[in-house]
């Protein structure tokens, strides 16, 4: 009986020691797994992850991205540098970046992915950034490429830095269209602000004046107030809104009898473009890609995509995922089949591709350098298309 207290004291200590040991072992194992994830395991199938929204908000993006990625992989015969490629799907949660991070961890830790296509949205990219850095994952991401994530090598931003998207537009408006003043309209979040930066800066540098900038808060359901509040003395309205909001705004704009030209940054994506085309025929836009671009790589892509997808015309998501995947494969090829992060980093800036966007490469900040095209909305046969007017090649990124 006397020894009972001593036993009672010793037992928790032993348990604590055992627990501590277990924790240390677990940490050691996790660490080993983590370093193993990012390190090159250059034998066996190469796992490529696609982390796009397949559920919830913007869930149309996921299948679109998948179709583009699958086409690129099929063209490569599901192989790169002699290794078989295995595509692993994960779902980005646009409304909850924490879920996207969980899904990224699943792809990396459980599936063994080291090359990722996506995530698509800026908030998701921010959420996974620290994790990708510690695990040496290289992600090829479309859209939402911000300055904050540039230069690390974990994010290869194709086609461009978002603040450089509309750079050629400012000079074009001032020199070719002879506009003296513009008004702008975009959503009140980071991408909305960033995507207009290039155009407004270069327009101002060319002597033009930005007389009004309207920012639409998230969740706004009625866009008529923004149309009626527009400064009608401006020579043109430069705008970017998600397609359904663009359609709603343009309808309000036209029904107020406003004749001011609208220039659509990034055009308007299908299928909304097809349903609102008659309202914006002859309007100009600036795009990185559109189905109507006439370069040889785009014609081949459109034909191959249609063949693989029952005659479907490709859209922006298809094209972005297609090129992101082509870039990933070319990078691995350049690195001699290695998936070592450091070797991939060296290789990716040496890749040069003829893409559906135009000729392109990746700069020293791991951002795409490719073409931008001024386009005009026209009715062709039974469809509306963005017809190329003028192309600017090798548009640099201004950090």
């Amino acid at each position: 009986m006397d020894c009972t207290p001593a036993l009672r004291n010793r037992t928790p200590r032993r348990r604590l020691l055992a627990l501590a040991l277990a924790v240390v072992v677990a940490l050691a194992l996790t660490s080993a797994c983590s370093s193993g994830t990012g390190a090159s395991d250059d034998s066996g199938p190469l796992k490529v992850g696609i982390l796009w929204p397949f559920n919830g908000a913007y869930s149309n993006y996921g299948p679109d991205g998948l179709a583009g990625t699958q086409l690129a992989l099929q063209e490569a015969g599901m192989k790169v540098s002699g290794r078989t490629i295995e595509l692993v799907k994960g779902s980005e949660d646009v409304l909850d970046p924490a879920n996207t991070l969980r899904e990224a961890k699943r792809l990396v830790q459980q599936e063994g992915v080291t090359i990722m296509i996506g995530p698509v949205f800026g908030s998701s990219q921010q959420a996974v950034a620290a994790y990708f850095k510690t695990t040496n994952v290289m992600a090829f991401v479309p859209f939402g490429n911000t300055k904050e994530l540039a230069g690390r090598g974990n994010f290869i931003g194709w086609p461009t830095l978002d603040t450089s998207f509309s750079t050629p537009l400012g000079g074009y408006m001032a020199d070719q269209l002879h506009y003296k003043s513009i008004a702008t309209l975009a959503p009140d979040y980071v991408y909305g602000h960033n995507v207009l930066v290039g155009a407004t800066q270069t327009f101002t540098q060319a002597g033009g004046k930005v007389v009004q900038q309207q920012w639409v808060p998230l969740g706004t359901t009625d866009l008529l107030p923004y149309a009626s509040n527009l400064d009608r003395n401006a020579d043109a309205l430069v705008m970017w809104l998600v397609p359904q909001d663009a359609a709603s705004f343009v309808k309000s704009f036209r029904s107020l009898g406003i004749k001011m030209p609208i220039i659509f940054v990034n055009g308007v994506f299908d299928p909304t473009f097809q349903s609102m085309g008659s309202d914006i025929v002859d309007s100009l836009g600036i795009v990185d890609w559109s189905a109507g671009l006439t370069n040889a790589a785009n014609k081949t892509f459109a034909a191959d995509f249609a063949k693989a997808n029952k005659g479907q015309v490709p859209n922006n998501q298809n094209a972005a995922a297609y090129v992101d995947t082509k870039l990933a494969l070319a990078t691995i090829e350049k690195a001699g089949g290695s998936t070592s992060f450091e070797e991939l980093k060296k290789a990716v800036t040496q890749v040069k591709l003829d893409t559906p966007y135009g000729p392109g490469h990746i700069d020293e900040n791991f951002l795409g350098v490719t073409s931008r095209t001024i386009v005009k909305a026209v009715h062709q046969g039974s469809r509306y298309v963005w017809e190329p007017v003028k192309t600017f090649d090798n548009v640099p990124n201004e950090l």
Partner: protein, 284 residues
Amino acid sequence: MLAVLNGISLGFVLFLIGSGLSLIIGSMGIINLAHGALYMVGAYVGWSVAMDAGLPFWLAIVCGALAAAAVGVLIHQVFFRHLSGLLDEQILVSFGVVYILADVVQWVWGTNAKAPFSVPGLDGSVNLLGLIYPTARVFIMAVGIVFGALLWWLQQRTRIGAIVRAGMDDPQMVRTMGIRLDLVAAGLFVIGSAVAGAAGVIGGLVMGAQPSFGIDIMLLALVVVVLGGVGSIPGALIGALIVGLSQAVSVVLFPSFSGFSLYVVMAVILVLRPAGISGRVVTQ
């Protein structure tokens, strides 16, 4: 002037959805957060009828109302019938229904949002008080005025309306008079759902149809009810006009604060009149 007209037209869309929600909360004590999702269902059904099938717009309104009413019956019978007086459960369940319905519409109609409906006769503009103004907006205001008058007449001048009003003030007394208040309330739930569906089709003229409406529209409708006071048609109308006007006018006067100006207005009104403009208090 244009901003005021914009606010009034948005106010009438919100009135169409908020009035039904206000009556449901007031008469039944049910917090149905899926009311905005019924608006969304109506908008999508309206799209199919008016845009895909090319049928008359009035038929689209009827079909949208019927579809939302059918979903409303389902929600009421499956969930709310068993959750009388359980406000927390009602909120959680109806919030879950919002997500279910949002997924269902994406499954049926695809994930891309629908552009504002183009309806012959309602596209284009009219001259209103010397301003060029969208015909669809004028139509919405006209429908809102007629609908508001009809609802007010039903609530104030008919026996059913008297029962509903009495049920809000003293449900026990109404039941002791042998009136099946549960049946009246269930009928009101269905009517409120149908009105939300019809509002979705009418609102589709200017806002199209989006899976996010289940939450975006619901948020505004709840503000309408909170401002107007539950169970009051005139209160819902005034609340809706305040919401619409504050949204439209703030874009002009305080563009940087337009995102939350509405909530400042709501806070001020609730400080002054905690039970909302109509002053009616829900009786459990």
